[in-house]
Each structure stands twice: as structure tokens, then as C-alpha cells.
Assembly symmetry: C2
Homo-oligomer: 693 residues x 2
């Protein structure tokens, strides 16, 4: 049984380290090839094809062998050497100089860079002193006998070299060229192999059944973000579901008690950064299982499939309740790679003379919360604190004050001056304030105070890292379970009504079932989230498996139209076993593991956040004949409401951006730099993204 | 490394033989459990859950062990025994009779059939004489200590017993119940494991990369059968592609030189039997490969993933040219499990006195073709021959005559009488006619004559098998490559124009490239089909990898709008390697392997051929708000053309069928029997389908 991770290790080495900041990213240089010597031969990459070897696998052990290679011309040095590339690596080819090989020389000298060549020759030693220890194939070269130009390459929009800077819009327009980069090769190969290991774990080790479920389905209650697909029956539409949730539960009723699927899901959220209209989740459901069982399964799954070139995972993962997460991190997806936890200091101020603090503590949910920024006084500037305060007011309508408690400098804040000595020393003791630390304090309604500090905790971590402080180890992967979520939340548009915190099939926590019929807003659920480094990478729950309870939740609590779910309710009545499951967001997970700045870097053909494929120009206009069988027509402009007009305006604006660059530039590819960039901006600040390739 | 086929073997045994005709299908009876004793423990089915064992795995070796089981109540014998079922099998549970266990007794006696129960007890021997050798667990039973009713079951629309006959419409309406049947469990588990083995072969053994490609794409040229998905931009639509063809070729340009994907594909063909609007193909593409390489890969793939409970495959598979297939079998997907090949007898009749034969041979493509039906005179009746002749006239406008050349009976045909003795003996010798054989003869244009006999060959085979003649071994799997297809075919609507025989990316045969520019209709292609038992289960080709040739084919030969494919044409210019690939139709392949009457039997949640999900009632009406973001509206009735009206009428007719049954029946489930049956009819004759479950 070959070990598939070998390839990934190989490729990782060719690709070089992910964090390009740390090691130079130039293809062929530095340490990226050094480890290839230790590669294990795993899969047979040369079966069924004309080549005898890949470019990257050749070593001194192949000396004297006649080999046939296929690859792309990476570059040429004068008319003497040619570097041939395939997915596996680079090899130096000696261009023959003698008369008898004139045609081979001509071919190899004249073929444009990135042309595809097949050649046969002998593996020979490089002359003494000409070895390249930085290249895994650096001890040898190929003495060519025959060569064939398989395809010539026209002038490229950009060179296939990692050090070439290019905009993401340009990369997406010519995705097939971008895919040749070592980084994209590494990302997609790692993804493939990680999924393969997951399948082995689920299918071979634990008896799960891989079952495909339909994507042409019907509208789900509350499924506002579902794409519709018109059918040939007038007025009837399919929906593209956001997950196989109903099907996987029905499979449990059907006796497939261990189901999984690497499932394509769809979500139309209009224009949201870091979202794709179609995405992939590792979808799992089991019968006769409890929350601990699912968690153990997932911990084993991730440990088994974890890339061998990363630090191994320790299991079990730590766990935290939703309430703890909010209290200490101000968010339901805490980044636990660093401290700076939120500390409640209300008790210190019970008898304070500072009026606004005292007043706040008299209110029902009033609290005083702090975080301590290590070295904040040293690394953060006055304008940083201004920005922090402004951010808190603008986004949370909340005052935040910095406290300089053990700083030698001249910086003071108004609140620091008001503090009594015993308040200061109590804070220093409770928060363990060190020299040059800064404390951020806010007084307000408990959850809101936590939320603002939770957000500022992340912003300050970014700021500190920008100033060179190492807070988060880039090689660290901190998984965390967040549990005991509320089952329902007040609706944003009408807080007197409730909506599901996750989805209506989530089971109530056994300790809280009695509250379902009296105070549903207080019911905790059996939902669990899996968080990695502050991002949600999975979520699941134990489901309701009794029809009456499901009907009560849908009809009485959520006021949903149960007719849309009559098949599911009926199924629960026909011997549904207790069951639960989880879904892992594969794109996000692989994105975090590869350290990619965007999920677009782990998807072969991604779309912009507006849902555009810049390569093929999808979606596109169709003819009336194309949609005629579906009994629909495009609304005329006068039919569209203001929202539609709005979106048209946005489009017009983004096109307007193109015009100046079109007139300015002579390179037709460059316009893409401006053209589509607005669609590719992530919500996260540029400072948090690794360098562009 | 556990061996995943173990499960399948286990399941197969539980499920019993596929050909229900041959062995009795009643759950719990006959030989189906006999082989379970030899089962190999493979995957851990009991990890992460409360049960300690599956019901089906318990044996005498477990005697004395305390076990916890979860399952469904299959049936009860008086108040003494209860049979518990899970996916793995059945186990007998002794209902305790002593006072101290009154509550357990009550629970086990009162829970309705198909209720879900968890119980803990001890494995004990059955009393001497009470063993059941037909049951793999028949030597033992469970002495219960505790029991819990996990979920009660309401009155079912049908019993979960294999011998219960039910209409397919009823099975689809309550799919989650139908999935509990041993047959559906076997089919879907076999499918899962076969795909897993394919992945191991491709990914682990041969270095293929599993890459997901988008399903929200743009319209492809000639993609008339593509579902459209409206986007939020007025008038712009995505298309759901029929295959990842373009993406897999672009991946080759991107240097992923071994790609595969188990890909969801979409095809809107309106109402066609044995087609699903979404289906799955094992999609493969390789660079630097030739036709022989792809064929070898696929032969290895199928051999590696072939179910262990079937006869092992012999590779390489035989190969046949398109012309040979047409000449000898009258079809491009010959069923080579039996003979009855078409024989050209034109030479025998060069100087015949039978006028219509002589005339036909004077025409340019005129030919006289025959098939010999072994034992036809014995097994086929006069009305069969009438039906055969009528079929040929109705479907092919072609006269077919039976010849009784070595029959003892009184049956004669007009043509037999006209034959001269030397013609008769020449036919007998050439066709190797045996006693009681019948020859079918037709004179006509070469291809048409072959087509009609090809079809009659299959029809006669069905007839003979209905009469008890064994022509095709049900355990035989005859794979066949069909190669050298024409690259183009005349368009049906205008034979002066050409269309691609498969798709426009297929490369011309190297020997015929010169004809591309002069007589394109004569060019053979590098397309290959994989045929299994007369059904196409795969197809692929070596692709065009040069932009000029691709552009010439699209623009000059096919007169397509090349703008829709500009990205692909451009990609071919940027160093596209030579490449080729194939796609296997997974649904059809698994259908044939499991011997299922319909591909719906190997899909968890299939749709009717009209595209309806009878369980959830998809597609369904939506509100105007649901489609409003997409700038579309449903056409009013007066906007629809006659085609639309036609389809509405069809719907009305099919609903009208429901009404009488609705009024007649008291069982609300029974109406489904009539309700949807028209949608489930296959094109193949009922006589060829195995019995219903």
C-alpha cells in the first residue's frame, strides 16, 4: 500500500515554505529543493505515458540511464542549457553543440519559453564545480539525443515564475497559467491528498458509506440564499441546496447509519468577501451517536489526514462553552493561539467614585471589561489608540479607554488619572500587568462590552505583529470546540421573535428540554462548532429525531411553514434513529492549513466575490431560446425595483474604473489589474495577508 | 490497511443474490446468510457509538459476552422472541418472561414493528434443536438485561421486507424506508466501495490529483441541454455543465498532468427514460498520453475496483472499430455476450433471379444482410415473426424476411420458396445454419440494413430468453472498446452540414488529419467508447491540443461561435501539452454490476424521468420574492408557445390519471401506484427487467 503523503512532501519541498515572508520565494533558488533528496517514491507518475521519469525525480542514482522526459521550457541559459519543468521539479538539459545534432539544437534554442517539449537523453554528471546544491537535481544534467516540440507557446501575459508579481485578477483571468505555479500545485495537491486520507479514515477504517445526494432540490424553509433553477414546468423551480442536511438525516432514517460525502454546496449571498457561490464541505452523519462521539470521530479524522509536513495534532481538542467564548474572547470563534483574554473587572469598581463606571454597574447587564495588551505602550502609538477608540465608537457605539498602569513614559489617559491607587493596584494584580503593557477598558452591557474587546483583541494582535512582535506562531494550529450554543436567537429584524441559531433540526440540550415549552430563548442546544486559529472550520449537532418535537420547534417556536418539510416530519415518525453529524468547510480548512491569504488559492477555478469567473466570463447573457423551455423571461428594466437598479449601478461603477487604465496602458493584460480588483478585496486588512506571489 | 471489500462481501451475503429470479428473495430465509460465517472483520462499525456490536456480526464466538445493540424491530414471534435488524443483519432476542423484567417485556412486546430499540444483554446459545442454520446468527440469541425505546414507529406505508411487492412510485415517495431494504443497502454500499477503490487506484497508486471543478459555469457551444441558473445580474445566467470537459483540459494546460474527479454533471433532456437530470461520472484526464495509455489505465482501474463477489475481469478488453461494430452488430455498443452476428450475404445473391435483391445490389450502398437465430424455428411463433417484420417496417422502413432453411416443421416463408438450392446451401454454409435455426434477411442500404438487424438481434435474444433459452450468462461482464469513430456526422436537420460525433475537442485520427481540410466527413477520430454488455459505460478521446486546429474545427467545419470558447483557444496557445481522457458513467456502471433494473436503484434519491423528486415534491412553485433577486419572471400563459402548452397538457393528463385511483382507494399510499408510474417506465421492455422486489 503506497503512502500518498509522499507526493505531498515532495511537492511541498518544490513549492517552498508557505510563509513566503520567511524564505525567499524564487523558483530554483534557496532551500526549496534541499529536502527532495529524501523523497520517498510513492505513486507511479509515469505509468501509461511516454515519459520514463518526471523531471524532478532524477538523481545521481539515475546516472547513465536513458530517460524520456516531457515538460515545459522554464528558461534557457545562452544556447548552452535549458531548464525543463514538470509538476515534480526542474532538470537541466545540455543543448548539444555538435553539427550532427543541429536540428535538436535549433529546436531547443528556438522554442519559446513555456513551450512543451519531449526529449530523450542520458543522465550524466555535471562537470566538477558546476553542481548546484540548491537544486535537488543539481548534481546531474541530461545529454539530449532526440527532442520533439509538442506545442509552441505564444507570448504569455505573465511569466510562470514565483517571483513575478501579478494581480489576482490577472491570475484568475489566466487561471490555467497560474495553476502552473508551485504554490497552486502545492495547494491543490495537498487538498486532494488530505481528502483522500479523510476518505480512507471514514470509509476504510470506520465503515462510513459515501453517498451522493441531489443538488437539484426544493426550497428549504428560510433558505433565502438558495440559487433557483427553473424547470420545464411553468413556475416550478429547483433550488441548489446550501447543504445536504435533509438528505443526510433521511439517510439515517434509511438505515445508512454512517454516511459521509464530500459535498458540493451552493449559497447565493450576493457579494460577500471570502465566500464562493459554490463550496465544498465534508459532510458526515451518524446514528446512535452523541456529541462526544462526533467530536472524537472528527479529532481522529483530522489527525489521520493531517499533512505530514505540519506539526502533528494533539487530540482531544480543547473545548469551551459558547458563554465562555463570549466572556473571554468576545466571539464564538476564539483565536486561542495567543492570550490577551477579556477580564471582568467589575468587582474592582463596585465602590468607585468614577461616575460612568458606577452608573454602568447599576444597570442589569452592566459590566466593566478589560484586555491587557502586552508591550502595548512600547509598540502602539498615540494614533493607534485614537484608531482603537474610534473603531469602538463607530462599530459598537462603545467607549474604550486605554489605561497606562505600569508605563515609564509620559503617556497618560484621562481615565488613568481618575483611578485611585487601590483600583490601579487591583487591576495590575488581576490582569498581571507588566511593564509597558496597556490595558483597554470598556464599560457597557455585558455581551456588547465583550464583543468590542474581542474585536479589539484581534486588531491589536495584528498591530503588534505588524510592529514585529511574535504573538501567533505561524506553524501553530489551535483547534477548539465551542459547545452549548443557544438553540434560538432573537430575530434581528424583530427581537420578539426567535430564529434558529443554526438550523431548525438541532436538538435541544437534554438539561434544557423542559424550557423549550416555556422559555425557548433560554434553551441551550447540542450544536458544536469546530474552530481553527479563530476561524470556524466546522459545525454540527445532534438532531431532533422525534417528529412531535421537530414539529413543535418548526411550527410553534419558529413559525415556519411545515408543509415544506412534511416529508422530513413524516420520516421521523417511521422509526428514525437518534442521530447527529457535522460538516467541515473544506475550502476554509485547506486555506488555513496551507496558510493561503484567500480560499480562492485552494480552489482550482474560483469566482470573484461577485460570482464572476474572470476566465470564461460566467455568468453571461443567454439567448431567449436558451431560457424559453423554462417558461421564464428576463424582467425589463422598468420592472426592476430599486435594489436591482442599485446593483446595475455598482456594475457600471466598477466598469468605469477600467476606462482610465485602458487608455493609459499598452499591455492589454494590465487593465485587469484595475478592472476586477474591487471584487477580490478581502474583508481582512491587507496587513494580515501574506505577501502576494 | 483494512480491506474495504470485506463489508461489501458481508453485505452482499445479507442482501442475497441480485438475480432474484434465481434464488428466493425473502429476508431471513434461504442461503443468503450462509456465507456470513466466513466474513472478515474489516472496518470498525462500532467506533464512536453506544453499541458494542452490530446485530449481524454476532456468532458463537461471542458467547457469554455482554453486548449493547441498536436496531429496528424486524418482527416478533408471539411475546417470546423479537428479531432486531441493523444494516449488518438480524439477531434473535429473547423477550424476558420473569416478573422482575416486566418493564423490559412490556417495552419489547408493545413497541411497533420498525421502532428503534437499544438493548443490552448477554449472547447465549439457542437451546438444542432451535438453531437456525439459514441465519448467520442462527446459533445464538440475546438474553436481554435492559432495553430502551429510542423511537417509536407509526403505521408504515409498506413493510420493510424484501418479499413485499411495492410500486416504484411508492418506493420513491418513501425513499427513506425503501433505503432500509437489503437490496438498496447492498447497491449503495457497493457503489461507495467501488468508488473508494477507484480513488485508491488513481490517487494512491498512479499519482492522480482529485480536483473539484465548478458547476456554475457558462453556456457551452451546442449545449442545448444545459440547465440555466439566473444570476443577480439582469439577463446573465450560469449554466450547469454536462461535464467538466473544458475545466479538465484547462487543468492539463495548468500542469496538473493527472486529473480525476467523481464529478456531478447535469443534463436537461426533458423526459427521457433511464436518464437523471443530475448524474455522476468518473472524470479523468492525462497529459502526454495516447489512446492505448488511457485504455490501459481504465482496464487497470476496473480490475482493481471490481467487486470481489463477481467473476474477476480479464484484461486487456477486446477492441473493435466503429465500422466493425456497425457491420457485425448494427450498433456502436455491441452486446458481445452472445453471437448472432450480422453476416453480409450479398455475394451469394450477385446473380440471383430474385428481383428485389438483385435491384438492391445494383445501388451504391446496397447490401443483403442476415442474422441467424439459433433455435428460432423452435422457440419463436408465427406472431413473433409478424411482430419482427412489423417492427422493422415501423422503425426502419425496412423489409425483413425469415428464412427457414433447415427446419422440419411446416413453416415456410415466401422468400424461402424463391431461393434456389445453391443459394440455400451457400447460406447454410456461410451462416452455419443448424437444425431449427431461422435466418432473418434484409436487403437495403448498408448501414440501415445493419441497424435493423442489430436491433432485431437484441429483440430476438430477449424473446429467446423469455422462452427459456440461456443466451447471456447473468454473471458475465463483457467489456469492449469501440474505436475509430467518425470525427463528424451529418446533422440530422441538415445533412449537408456536419456536427461533432462526440464533442468538438476530439482529435482527428493521425492517419486522417490531411482529410480534415478536404473531406472532413471522412476523418476518423481518436474517440473511444467503453461498452459493457451492450451499454455504453464510458467514452473519451485524445483531444486537440493546438489552437489553430481547434479553431479550424470550431469555426470552419462546425460553424460554431468561437467567442464562447475564446478562453480555451487562448489556453491552447500558451503551452498546452498533448492530452486525452475519458469519463465513466458511474450510475450506469454500478447499475449493470449490481444487475439493477434501473439506474434509480443505484442512486440514493433519484428523480423520475420527468425530473420529479416524489419524496420532497421538487421542483416546486416559488414565491415572486424567491426569484425577484434574479431579474426573472415566470411567463404568463399567453406568452408561452405551443411547445409549452404541449407540456402543460401532458402534466394535466398525468394528473388526470390520479383521480380515479384517489376515489377508489382508502389507503392514501396506494394512489401512488397509479399516480406516477408513467414517469418510471423504462424504455426497455418489462420482460427484460428482473422481478420487482
Amino acid at each position: 500500500m503506497p503512502f500518498p503523503w509522499g507526493l505531498c512532501l515532495v511537492y511541498k519541498n518544490w513549492a517552498g515554505p508557505i510563509r513566503k515572508k520567511i524564505l525567499p520565494p524564487i523558483l530554483g533558488s534557496s532551500t526549496r529543493y534541499l529536502m527532495l533528496g529524501a523523497q520517498k517514491r510513492t505513486s507511479d507518475f509515469n505509468s501509461f505515458v511516454v515519459r520514463t521519469n518526471t523531471c524532478g525525480e532524477l538523481r545521481s542514482s539515475h546516472l547513465g540511464q536513458e530517460v524520456t522526459l516531457c515538460g515545459w521550457i522554464q528558461y534557457r541559459r545562452q544556447s548552452l542549457f535549458l531548464i525543463l519543468r514538470d509538476f515534480h521539479g526542474l532538470i537541466q538539459v545540455v543543448i548539444p553543440q555538435d553539427e550532427s545534432a543541429a536540428s535538436v539544437k535549433k529546436l531547443l534554442c528556438e522554442a519559446p519559453i513555456e513551450s512543451v517539449v519531449q526529449l530523450t537523453g542520458t543522465v550524466i554528471s555535471r562537470p566538477p564545480g558546476q553542481e548546484n546544491p540548491k537544486m535537488p537535481t543539481g548534481e546531474i544534467e541530461i545529454k539530449v539525443k532526440t527532442a520533439e516540440l509538442l506545442n509552441s507557446c505564444k507570448k504569455l501575459p505573465f511569466e510562470i515564475k514565483d517571483f513575478m508579481k501579478k494581480t489576482e485578477a490577472l491570475r484568475m483571468k489566466f487561471r490555467y497559467l497560474d495553476l502552473r505555479s508551485s504554490q497552486m500545485q502545492y495547494n491543490l495537491r495537498l487538498r486532494s491528498q488530505m481528502v483522500m486520507k479523510m476518505r480512507e479514515y471514514l470509509c476504510n477504517l470506520h465503515g462510513f458509506v459515501d453517498i451522493e445526494t441531489p443538488t437539484l432540490f426544493k426550497k428549504t424553509p428560510g433558505g433565502a440564499k438558495e440559487f433557483v433553477v427553473p424547470s420545464r414546468e411553468p413556475g416550478k423551480f429547483y433550488s441548489l441546496p446550501q447543504s445536504p442536511q435533509q438528505f443526510k438525516q433521511l439517510l439515517m432514517v434509511g438505515g445508512f447509519d454512517r454516511y459521509f460525502q464530500v459535498a458540493r454546496c451552493y449559497r447565493d449571498e450576493g457579494s460577500k468577501p471570502e465566500r464562493q457561490p459554490e463550496f465544498t464541505q465534508v459532510d458526515i452523519e451518524m446514528s446512535f451517536v452523541d456529541q462526544a462521539g462526533i467530536q472524537k470521530l472528527i479529532e481522529g479524522l483530522l489527525q489521520y489526514s493531517w499533512p505530514k509536513d505540519k506539526n502533528p495534532l494533539t487530540i482531544p481538542f480543547p473545548s469551551m462553552t459558547y458563554t465562555e467564548a463570549l466572556d473571554f474572547y468576545g466571539t464564538d470563534k476564539p483565536d486561542t493561539r495567543f492570550g490577551m483574554k477579556i477580564v471582568d473587572v467589575s468587582d474592582i469598581f463596585r465602590n468607585t467614585e468614577i461616575e460612568f463606571l458606577r452608573d454602568m454597574l447599576k444597570k442589569p447587564q452592566g459590566a466593566i471589561k478589560t484586555i491587557c495588551i502586552p508591550g502595548g505602550a512600547k509598540y502602539l502609538k498615540s494614533k493607534d489608540f485614537e484608531a482603537i477608540k474610534e473603531f469602538a465608537v463607530n462599530h459598537f457605539n462603545q467607549e474604550v479607554s486605554p489605561l497606562f498602569l505600569k508605563t515609564s513614559g509620559s503617556r497618560k489617559s484621562p481615565l488613568t488619572k481618575l483611578l485611585k491607587e487601590e483600583e490601579k493596584s487591583a487591576l495590575i494584580s488581576l490582569l498581571r500587568v507588566q511593564e509597558e503593557d496597556v490595558v483597554l477598558l470598556t464599560a457597557g452591557e455585558h455581551n456588547k462590552a465583550c464583543s468590542v474587546l474581542g474585536k479589539l483583541r484581534l486588531e491589536c494582535a495584528d498591530l503588534l505583529e505588524d510592529r514585529g512582535v511574535v504573538l501567533r506562531d505561524p506553524a501553530a494550529f489551535h483547534f477548539l470546540w465551542v459547545v452549548e450554543f443557544p438553540l434560538f436567537l432573537p430575530k434581528e429584524e424583530d427581537p420578539r421573535e426567535l430564529e434558529s441559531a443554526h438550523h431548525p433540526f438541532t436538538a435541544p440540550h437534554p438539561s434544557d428540554v423542559h424550557l423549550l415549552y416555556t422559555e425557548p430563548e433560554k434553551v441551550r442546544s447540542l450544536h458544536y462548532d469546530l474552530v481553527l486559529n479563530g476561524s470556524e472550520v466546522g459545525g454540527g449537532s445532534i438532531r431532533i429525531h422525534k417528529a412531535e418535537q421537530q414539529q413543535y420547534v418548526l411550527e410553534t417556536v419558529l413559525k415556519e411553514d411545515v408543509k415544506l418539510l412534511s416529508h422530513l416530519l413524516q420520516a421521523l415518525d417511521f422509526g428514525a434513529p437518534p442521530h447527529g453529524g457535522i460538516a467541515l468547510g473544506l475550502d476554509r480548512l485547506v486555506c488555513l492549513i496551507t496558510g493561503s491569504p484567500s480560499i480562492r488559492d485552494v480552489i482550482a477555478f474560483p469566482k470573484t466575490f461577485r460570482g464572476h469567473d474572470l476566465m470564461s466570463n460566467a455568468p453571461d447573457y443567454v439567448t431567449p431560446e436558451d431560457i424559453d423551455p423554462y417558461h421564464i423571461q428576463v424582467k425589463r428594466a422598468e420592472d426592476t425595483d430599486s435594489t436591482d437598479v442599485q446593483s446595475v449601478v455598482c456594475e457600471a461603477e466598477s466598469s468605469r474604473l477600467v476606462l482610465p487604465s485602458l487608455t493609459k496602458t499598452e499591455n492589454p493584460f494590465e487593465k485587469l489589474a484595475l478592472d476586477q480588483t474591487p471584487e477580490l478585496l478581502d474583508r481582512r486588512k491587507p496587513s494580515r495577508s501574506p505577501d502576494n506571489k
